[in-house]
């Protein structure tokens, strides 16, 4: 039986094989070869694609290069979402490797946030951690940390250092035993069937009667369509880190073990009809 700590490692080291191809309308001095890379599920596109940029800049002139952005089958990819979430949401039922198109022009500023430097990614990451702690601990734990502790969380992610990250992150996963869990669970439910980017609301891990809430309880409250009732055909997959956890799984356990480094549980609801033909 896998130890709970093994789950933390499996989550951290999850990878997605990806093929980056330059958008054919970009102006190049010679033909651009595709670039292959294993992307960390828990990181962010703009943090891990320096090599991709360098590779394509070799065949382009400086004046043809603006802010790099990524697209999958016509959908601009939001760099501020964890990579694994983007894959599960848009491409999980398609063949590997994940084929991403790279652009250097016509940045879609009505769809994507700008990402001029790594400090923007860091600010975004830390802001998620702070918001998660506001929900879990009324911000008490994150506010008690020093600046260097915050830095350690970020450096751990940036440099892919599991131990360095979790040395600090474990504090954010603690709670008073008598409470039975966090104050509220930081989560977001994503789907592509409507314009709304995600659902995020207050939800406690423990009921007023003291019983542990499950993943199914969360969905019943926030996204009842995702639940298959008796006799119905299954319409949706509920995916976290590329797997479908049992709906009976306690939400508190999921929050402690299957959250992303930003301390949020990112849950994707994917329609089962969204499958490639053949």
């Amino acid at each position: 039986m896998a130890d709970d700590k093994d789950v933390l490692r499996d989550v951290w080291f999850g990878r997605i094989p990806t093929c980056f191809t330059l958008n054919q309308d970009e102006v190049t001095e010679r033909e651009a070869e595709p670039y292959y890379l294993l992307l960390p599920r828990v990181s962010y596109l703009t943090l891990v694609t320096d090599k991709v940029k360098k590779h394509f800049l070799k065949v382009m002139r400086a004046e043809d290069v603006e802010e790099m952005w990524f697209e999958y089958e016509g959908t601009p990819l939001k760099w501020h979402y964890p990579i694994g979430v983007l894959f599960d949401l848009h491409a999980s039922n398609n063949v590997l490797p994940w084929s991403i198109t790279v652009h250097f022009k016509n940045f879609p500023d009505h769809d994507l946030l700008h990402c001029p430097s790594n400090s923007v990614i860091e600010a975004h990451f830390m802001s998620s951690i702070k918001e998660a702690d506001a929900l879990k601990h009324k911000s008490q734990v994150v506010n008690d940390m020093q600046k260097k502790d915050h830095k350690q969380l970020w450096m751990g992610l940036q440099n892919d250092k599991f131990d360095q990250f979790w040395a600090m992150n474990r504090k954010l996963m603690e709670y008073p035993t008598e409470d039975g869990g966090f104050r509220y669970i930081p989560f977001r439910i994503y789907q592509t069937m409507s314009d709304r980017p995600f659902i995020q609301k207050l939800f406690r891990p423990v009921s007023p009667e003291g019983s542990a809430h499950s993943l199914g309880d969360l969905l019943k409250e926030m996204y009842p369509d995702a639940i298959t009732n008796d006799g119905e055909q299954k319409r949706y997959q509920v995916v976290i880190h590329g797997i479908e956890p049992l709906l009976e799984t306690p939400l508190q356990w999921l929050s402690e073990h299957l959250s992303h480094p930003d301390n949020f549980l990112h849950i994707c609801v994917i329609p089962l009809t969204h499958q490639p033909a053949g």
């Binding site: 939001k78 501020h80 500023d109 009505h110 769809d111 994507l112 946030l113 700008h114 600010a123 802001s127 702070k130 918001e131 506001a134 929900l135 009324k138 930081p186 409507s194 314009d195 709304r196 980017p197 995600f198 995020q200 609301k201 207050l202």
Partner: protein, 237 residues
Amino acid sequence: GEVPSLLSAPPSAVRAAERWLDLGGGSGEEGSEEGYLRKTALRSVTLDSESAQKQEGSGSDSEPHTSCPSSVEPHGQEGEQPDCIKDDTDDDDAGICTVTESSSQVLQFEYHILYSCSYSSPVLYFRAFTLEGRSLSLEEVWSSVHPNFRLRLQNSPLNTITQQEHPLLGQPFFVLHPCRTEEFMRPVLQVAQDQHRPVNYVLSWLSVVGPVVGLDVPLKYSTLVHPASSVSSTEPD
């Protein structure tokens, strides 16, 4: 107790804010529970990147909405059309701040108020476009913020403006970070409680953060709050 949700405030309190904010629906699936307040306004703005770094005169710590006349005050208080406010570009002659190199243009600003359940407070989202529809960058927005406000924001990093995804629309907006909201709202609520005065939480909050990004709350709206309509204002949880 928790600060009541913006949208669970008594109807009359919300109506006061609604006079100049349209109630925009979200995706509509849950109706008014998840809407947001929205206002669009045309502002003639001085994009002043030159003096973004230097600061003259006032080093005082006074609250933004009293320290320096905003360069974007609305025309008078009468005959105001909430949906389309065109403002003068005032020459600032208060001597507190000097506008040097600048270009003046008319921009369209869109302001949204949403409620953050994580922080139990309202959050101001906004974006700006040129009349041709080009989005303003963070640098340009920053340079449109009055120099005195800019200094204050730079000194308190948790109050900076960042670009974020609108949680209901999924599009990029600029946001004034809500972290410090409780800090400046608490005294307001306490005094009002002590004096048994009604407080419209949203209008009070907005009158502090709004002017920083050019959203003014005309005085006359504060007179619309009367005893029967008070938002029960307990401290944020």
